[in-house]
Amino acid sequence: MNPSTLDPRGPGAGAIAELWWVLFYVSLIITVLTLAALGYAIFRRRVDWRLPSDEQDRGPTRAIVFAGILFPAIVISGLFIYVVITYRAITGPGDTPFTVRIIGAKWWWDVIYEYDSPILNARTANEVRIPVGRRVSIALESRDVIHSFWVPRLQGKMDLVPGRTNRIWIQADSPGVYRGQCAEFCGLQHARMAFYVVAMEENEFEEWIAAQRQPAAAPQSDAERRGRDVYLTRGCPLCHAVRGTESLAHAAPDLTHVGSRLSIAAGVLPNTRGHMAGWISNPQQIKPGSYMPRIPLEPAELQDIVSYVLSLR
């Protein structure tokens, strides 16, 4: 689960990690050689030089030209070629029939699966599920300030800049959950704007997205029904959407299938009953300054709405 760039699980981060090791070992060798030279320079036995003539300095000058100009120029040129190769390996178009359009906002991620045929589209938030082994096209946009999409074990980061669409691909070569976090300072709760990329086998992915396309499940129990009433009447529809009800706003995460997500509050809290209750009852305590207001609820109402929300699988 640790989001280490050095523990890649896909070709994007994999190619970059290889580049890192090359840069690292080249730097290590240069460091050792240079420090050895410095050490020798410091500790060697002295010959008393007076003001050296240009003749006497010819040798040292040549050494400087070699060590400071020729050697770095050659090494850096070589590295640069490798850099270009790596760049081409990690960029380019994706190969999925859908693009995941991710719209950043303070401090959450709106995630829209877009197909050529709009009836296949789906929408979720703060979680990106992808099929294993495919280059998934990602389109990055922002509705307020600059954010940055970074999932270290899969790919390099790319900014979400208002007014433009940036595109990358991400690919996971094994199933798993990969943590990502916003990597461009976006204000008060920048530290609490995370997300998860969940890679699944292709058939499981198709099942998952088919479920995401469906409207919300109808409430099964009394608690859930009461919870739905609380949800619809206490202001939630002003910002949130639950497809299948009249709640269709998208100023906040889409909740149609929130019950099946791994986390809430943008990767900040695990999606459990306790955490959901804590979040709904007082978001300002967990993420002060976030745009979800604190709406006072009776304890019974709270329990009901939590039941309802968790039922939206």
Partner: protein, 846 residues
């Protein structure tokens, strides 16, 4: 080899009568007392104040970081809330980048450059004092925001849209934006002084290929400041106008582009770090040779490297923007350039290494800091090449890896050299030697704790930890590295404190340093420590690169030169005179008058403080007094003084090769050179704005910048061109022009400039251009820039008219007239260029 005994210039046998020597010392003495404190404009006392203030800011800025590290020591800590933390990291960065490093460098240059170059002061002493006071008021202004709980909180690089009013509604960013203006002005003033000082005011015989490496570093740095800080001024101006709701440069909904800010900011920001590094490299190139008892290996290669770095650093800025979605070709170019800058840095590095290798190292504290620098800068430079590689940067940009990188190059590569410089020069400044024992503890603790604090950040960055986060979740693998960093940071803080303690101990009990405790090679060591205010009573004559090592004596060897220099040896005595030399060979040419005291730099800084505060809270109650005080300040600054009258009475102003003349007006005067620096700044600002114009217009063909009313544009152009002969009337053959002709010229130029302003205003009002769109904003800004330019011309014309009225035959009046003509010609060129851009270039949009 040791410095020849008694080479100190102030030990030269007095060659003039005691009376004259005493009068010379009196005219060069400092004002005393409480009021005198505000009148002082000498580089030595101002330099000391400046260094002390800037160092204090280092400690304050560092303390902000220590608080941040407390919060980050363990996951989910709750010592500081999000807003406080965001203010702290913003102010830490802003303080270090704007309020410490460059002011400290300016301070060291203010104090040391004249001593190193063999002159008596910097060319514009009132500007020196103004830079210091403006800086101090700016610091107070920005830090006062903490008192109101609204310290800047948008990061030190303040990216919009986050920093636009909509997302930062409080005054935080206004404190940042307005307060920065002061850092910018102080830096530009210092740059002008440093350039003119190094090019024109050196000891006779110190040709350009003999100036110390530190002087080369400062010269190149100063030129870089002109070209880097000016775009920042334009950018911060754009941001403040957007925040006040006047314009929409960065608002995507109005066709604006957030990336425009990033381009402008980093065009400044990348050279900025080399502006910080080059003087530090200059200090290292000073210290290592002295403590290796031999000159630097390959002076020429090092100077070429400094030039290369200065130049190349303007071609790297996009590497701060790799992840913004730019096209591959751009990324490739900037990656190649960013990686290649390792080459000139490598040349310097190996030159230092070669100097130690072939020298005889003396392990004073100063030298230890230089070695510590080499180690840390090596690591920082290598990680710099790494982050220059685009794909790798896509992982570590905005992570703790890059935080580690830049602290290695900024603390390792700038602060360590500063300490090397402090231990090297403080004996000269205070007259007392610092404790070597405390010094070694200071160094080793700083070195060890610095690495303990920052090395782990490479790892936490590679493990996925982003930067600028006030807390982090546990169990991500980041915890132990953050704890180690916090311990290291606090250790580093205490280590720095040891240095402060050493300084305080030195002031109380340090043994006398004598004039040359290190047996060094450059001119500052020819003086007593501390140097007298009347430094270089007898100007030294230099004919080698390392005068204290290579010369038997600092007296002029040539009879002819000795005779030419006579008026300035222990003289003049009723006014302060500085020697001007030829740029390349340092042949004595002329003398310039330098003021000895003035309260008006302080007054003008107060005016700026009032104006800034007034802009911040948008109240006339502060703005109007500010402008009035500003008027008083400017009038007092430029009014004729008694010492100037003395100078005019004693020396002739006509240019001659046979003897030194008083350079008051024309190309020999410092004012003329200063005017050219000003024009360079203005041109840079114009081209920055033009680049913004094309950036906002390109790529969005549905929203190109609108075109103002062409008829009025052409009329304005015709009017501007008509002013050329008018300018000639009052400026050609200035000494021989009849009063009537001069007045006609001044009057016509003024009228025509007013007409240009009116016509360009009409070109906007008689069109549909508004500032509601980004395109309209840039068009109005470009047009408004002409108003500012013509406005400055008008102000200078008023000054020239005042001189022409009250003192028509006074060369100072001629100087004002000539400098005014330069700016007036420039105003014509400004509109010509603007006209082509605003009215003709839209043809490109077809």
């Amino acid at each position: 080899m040791n410095a020849p005994e008694m080479i100190g210039v102030d030990n030269l046998i007095e060659k003039v009568p005691e009376e004259r020597s005493r009068e010379f010392e009196r005219i060069w003495s400092q004002p005393t007392g409480f009021i005198g404190f505000f009148h002082t404009i000498d580089n030595i006392p101002i330099g000391v104040r400046y260094m002390a203030t800037a160092f204090l800011l280092f400690v304050v800025g560092g303390f902000l970081a220590l608080l941040m590290r407390l919060q980050l020591a363990t996951p989910e800590r709750q010592i500081l809330g999000a807003e406080t933390f965001n203010q702290l990291f913003t102010m830490h960065g802003t303080t270090m980048m704007f309020l410490f490093v460059i002011p400290f460098i300016e301070a060291v240059a203010t104090y040391m450059l004249p001593l190193i170059l063999g002159t008596r002061d910097l060319p514009f002493p009132r500007l020196t004092a103004f830079s210091y006071w403006a800086y101090t008021f700016g610091v107070l202004f920005i830090f006062s925001s903490f008192l109101f709980g609204v310290a800047p909180d948008g990061g030190w690089f303040a990216y919009p849209p986050l920093t636009l009013k909509e997302h930062s509604p409080g005054l935080n960013l206004d404190f940042w934006d307005i307060g920065l203006s002061v850092a910018e002005i102080a830096a530009l003033g210092a740059a002008a002084e440093i350039i003119i000082s190094i090019l024109r005011m050196r000891a006779p015989g110190m040709s350009l290929h003999r100036i110390p490496i530190f002087a080369w570093a400062m010269l190149i740095t100063a030129v870089m400041i002109i070209f880097a800080f000016t775009p920042l001024i334009v950018g911060t101006f754009f941001l403040e106008l957007d925040r006040k709701g006047v314009t929409h440069f960065f608002d995507p909904q109005a066709g604006g582009k957030p990336l425009l800010w990033q381009h402008i900011f980093w065009v400044f920001g990348h050279p900025e770090v080399y502006i910080m590094f080059l003087p530090a490299a200059g200090i290292i190139s000073t210290v290592i040779p002295v403590f290796s008892r031999r000159p630097l290996v390959s002076y020429a290669l090092v100077v070429l490297s400094l030039l290369a770095i200065g130049f190349l650093s303007f071609g790297l800025w996009v590497h701060h923007m790799y992840s913004t979605g730019l096209p591959a070709t751009a990324l490739g170019f900037f990656a190649a350039a960013s990686m290649m800058i390792a080459v000139p840095n490598g040349v310097q590095f190996f030159s230092w290494l070669a100097t130690i290798w072939t020298g005889n190292p003396q392990w004073r504290t100063s030298m230890l800091f230089a070695i510590g620098f080499l180690f840390n800068f090596l690591l920082g430079g290598l990680t710099g090449v790494m982050v220059g590689a685009v794909p790798f940067d896509w992982q570590v940009h905005d992570s703790y890896f890059v935080v580690a990188h830049f602290h290695y190059v900024l603390i390792g590569g700038v602060v360590f050299p500063f300490f090397a410089g402090l231990y090297y020069w403080l004996p000269k400044i205070t007259g007392r030697l610092m404790s070597e024992r405390l010094g070694k503890w200071n160094f080793w603790l700083m070195f060890v704790f610095f690495n303990v604090a920052f090395f782990p950040m490479h790892i936490s960055g590679l493990l996925g930890m982003p930067r600028r986060i006030y807390t982090y979740a546990p169990g991500l693998g980041w915890d132990v590295y953050n704890l180690i960093s916090t311990i290291g940071a606090w250790g580093f803080g205490f280590a720095v404190l040891l240095g402060v303690i050493n300084l305080l101990w030195t002031l109380k009990r340090g043994p006398a340093a004598g004039h040359d405790p290190w047996g060094a090679d450059s001119l500052e060591w020819s003086h007593a420590s501390p140097p007298p205010n009347a430094q270089f009573k007898y100007l030294p004559h230099v004919h080698a690169r390392h005068p204290m090592w290579e010369q038997e004596s600092l007296e002029p060897q040539d009879e002819k030169i000795a005779r030419i220099l006579e008026p300035v040896q222990a003289g003049p005595t009723t006014w302060r005179g500085g020697l001007v030399v030829s740029v390349m060979d340092a042949k004595p040419i002329a003398v310039v008058h330098m003021p000895n005291r003035s309260i008006f730099p302080f007054v003008l800084s107060v005016a700026f403080a009032l104006i800034f505060a007034g802009l911040l809270v948008e109240t006339a109650w502060l703005l109007v007094p500010g402008v009035i005080v500003g008027g008083v300040g400017v009038a007092g600054w430029f009014r004729p003084t008694k010492t100037e009258d003395n100078a005019l009475a004693e020396m002739q102003c006509e240019r001659t090769d046979r003897q030194l003349f008083l350079a008051v007006y024309g190309p020999a005067s410092n004012g003329w050179w200063g005017t050219w620096v000003f024009i360079t700044i203005w041109t840079t600002a114009l081209f920055t704005t033009i680049a913004a114009y094309f950036y906002l217009g390109g790529g969005a063909p549905e929203m190109p910048p609108p075109v103002p009313n062409t008829l009025f544009g052409i009329l304005a152009l015709a009017t501007a061109v008509l002013s050329v002969p008018a300018i000639r009337l009052f400026s050609r053959d200035i000494a021989g022009t009849a009063a009537g002709v001069r007045w006609t010229g001044l009057g016509l130029t003024a009228l025509l400039n007013i007409a240009v302003i009116l016509l360009t205003v009409l070109s906007l009002t008689q069109s549909s251009v508004t500032t509601q769109t980004a395109g309209g904003s840039i068009v109005v800004f470009l047009t408004g820039w002409q108003w500012l330019t013509s406005g400055i011309v008008l102000a200078m014309l008023i000054a020239a008219a005042l001189w022409a009225w009250f003192r028509p035959a006074d060369p100072r009046g001629w100087s004002v007239a000539l400098n005014t003509s330069l700016v007036a010609y420039f105003a014509v060129a400004n509109w010509l260029i603007t006209f082509v851009i605003l009215y003709l270039s839209p043809a490109l949009w077809g």
